[in-house]
């Protein structure tokens, strides 16, 4: 695919969540989500999404007024709002504490159920693999194991 097609593919099919939330600092939470809703022909209902994310009462705040966990929720909301078929999460909990990490993982789980999209999570946290259906373990750029997880554990029960 060339540049243009790649952009188009990302626009239509991909959602990204990064370790750092990369929210636009001078837009409110709701507006940050709208930035990506704008890219989609049939985006999710934003207020409903905000409620799912537990951010509804914070929707008019700027990112700097929120905690890391809330910002990451917003970043996930932003990635989801286009209702992408694939959601890519690069260390989504890398900058978060234990409790918040679990909350975010539960949210991802819930979203997976609700919107039934494919979610790919990259992580250094070995425990997180247990919530996935399919696990690929990599070392120095090479796949060292590849298996299907028959019994995923709910995120709330994870311990590390």
């Amino acid at each position: 695919m060339n540049e243009k097609e790649l952009t188009q593919y990302r626009r239509n099919h991909l959602g990204f969540v990064f370790q750092f939330y990369n929210l636009v600092p001078n837009l409110t939470l709701k507006e940050n989500i709208e930035v990506c809703a704008y890219l989609s022909k049939n985006p999710l209902e934003i207020d409903e999404l905000l409620k799912t994310l537990g951010l509804y009462e914070h929707k008019d705040k700027l990112p700097s007024q929120l905690s890391g966990g809330q910002q990451q929720r917003c970043a996930i909301g932003r990635a989801l709002v286009k209702n992408p078929s694939v959601l890519l999460c690069d260390e989504p909990t890398g900058a978060l504490d234990y409790q918040t990490s679990k909350e975010i993982l539960s949210l991802i789980e819930e979203i997976n159920k609700k919107y039934s999209n494919t979610i790919i999570i990259v992580t250094h946290n070995d425990a997180i693999k247990n919530i996935a259906n399919h696990v690929l373990r990599m070392r120095e750029g090479v796949i060292v194991s590849d298996y299907v997880n028959e019994n995923p554990i709910p995120a709330g029960l994870l311990e590390w």
């Binding site: 952009t7 239509n12 837009l27 930035v35």
Partner: protein
Amino acid sequence: MRNPLNKRYLRELKKNAGRYICTFLLLVTTIILGSGFLCVMESAKYSLDEYLIENKVEDGYFEAAFPLEDKIKSKLEEEDIVLCDNFYSTAEEFNGGTKVYIFNERSEMNIPALFEGSLPAGKNEIAVDRLFAENHNIKVGDSLELNKIKFTVSGTISLPDYSSLFLSNQDLVMNTTGFGVCVVSNEGFAGFEESTVTYRYSYCHNDRNLSDKEKVEAANRIRKILVGNGLNVQDFLIAKDNQSISFLPNDMGKDGPIMEVLIYILVVIIAFVFAVLSAHTIEEEASIISTLRSMGYKKAELVLHYIALPIIVTFLALVAGNALGYTVMIEPFKRIYYKSYCLPPLTVKFNQVAFIKTTIIPIVIMIVINLLLLVNKMSLSPHRFLRKDLKKRKQKKAAKLPNFKFINRFRIRVILQNKGSYLVLFFGIFLSSFLLMFGIGLKPLMDYYVDTIDDTIPYEYQHILKVPVEAKGGEKVLIYSLETEYYLTKDNVKVTFYGVQEDSDIFNDFKIPREENHIVVSDSFAKKLKVNVGDEIIFEDTVYEKKYSLVVDEICPYTNNLGVYMSINNLCRLLEKDTGTFNSYVSQKKLDIDDAYIAKFMNRSDFLGAAKQVMISFGNVIAIINVFSVFAYLVLMYLLTKIVIDKNSLYISFMKVFGYEKKEIRKLYLDTSAIVVLISLLVCLPLEANLFKMILVYISSLIEGYMDFYLPVSVYVKIVLVGVIAYFGINALHLGKVRRIPMNEALKNRE
């Protein structure tokens, strides 16, 4: 759905208000200058063109010692011309030394345009030129005494054949204070003593479509008729060569391009300021850009997003600048012309070309420069943005620096990091200080010019005669005009030949060559026409269609005009005149010659007064230029040095955490900018001086002389001083900003 990113514009404007207000104001002032100037220029040009046609400006005139006989008049009219009496009486000492020409009634040619009041009717009314009236505080209804006759001022006017007040066509510049023109009715004119009257005849070709060449040929035929009938023609000038008529139409077009270029250069600099600011914003927002790009935002959408604000600000500035330029700035710019020239009443005309020049072109410049930068920046992959790796060429290693003290190495790093901003700053400083140099340097330069004329001119009085008469105490001189090619314009310029006595007491600064065809040229001649000793120059007599080739023996120090000096006998021989022919006296004392024989009398202050005039006409422009250049200094320095702090605010915050003191942080960052400003100021000086020299050559090409480049050291000192003081003020602002950078910025940062 509107793009939610658009909501950022207003917030961004608020957050960086200082930045946008500064660029906005700088642009507005630039555009005001441009649009005001161009609008007035184009309107005045249009008014002038119309006026010259409507009011039937002459195609040429000649002056005879006595009124023409009807027989000659009808012979002249066979040349398909309309001939008009354009007699004038000269009042020498009006208001303590002003020369006034009072013309008789004009109804067919050179018709006056009325500003105020009415044209003179009856014996005792007079209409005076508007500029002359302003300069001498004459109001309609006042009474004036000229050549012993009392007149009441009936109105103020302008005359098409005197749009510029050149007393003598030889003069370098106009003389708006020492010379004026008026018109009286024929009845009123009859009252003047005959000795004060000059018999000028003006003519117009019936065929309005003659080319310049045909007009010159016609003039030569007319002159031949006059000379053939034994008339002593004093002064023969076709309109094209008559500075009082042709100077203004020629001059008017000429400052336009300079102004335009100036505006465009300023817009380019402001565009680069925006580009530097955008580049900084993009670096700052690299991670956001990477996110937006990975979510599927297109390059074009983001380019549009980042270009929008500079373009909106530019657009608003253009609207405001043009609106102000076309309204409130009309008066001040009108003053520039109306203070120096006798233009007809101005009709302000909306001019499309001028409008395009001050709107479309600036906005296109703005878009092109910013677009190039942004497209270039955005062409990097989202991945590169995520890693904040925005350098086009991969920098493998940090540039190796010699083993300086830490602080100096650090400063060099800051300079390298900000080389873009500092480069734009350098050009900004170059342009602002050049304007300042022009603004404060023009007066000393003109003074120097006047002084060297004063120092070198070897005589006090010059009497040009109508008929050769003997007089005691002066030296006989034969003055004659020829033309030679000017390398710069490839056109002919007029040079004045002085045939002088071989044993002259007055022209004693050089040895008068005895050999035939050998000449001495004046300093301004040599410099303007780039002539050296030993060169052979071709001179042309366009009237008699002859060419002479003469050799330069020496260069003499005179600077008053393009003068050529040779022995009077040799000049007579060259021009095939009888030995002993002369037409002027030069002397150290006023000679006792009957006024009736004198065609033109000039003293030292006449030679100098004209040169001084330049300052008067430039006065308004200089004030505008000075204010503007200081303003440009401030804005450019502020914006471009502030960015250094903005870029490094995180590191400054770290420095504070590490325990650096305010003074040390100032040394590392602010003093680096100060050093760059100072070096730029100093390095620019010789460059600006060179540019000034080039512009002087251009100015000299417009006048019948040569202005030598001269700037006293004090001008350079002033420029640097103004720059340093401006930066000093800005530095204080920056210090405040550095103080306000909080330490938790470093501690909270997650990357």
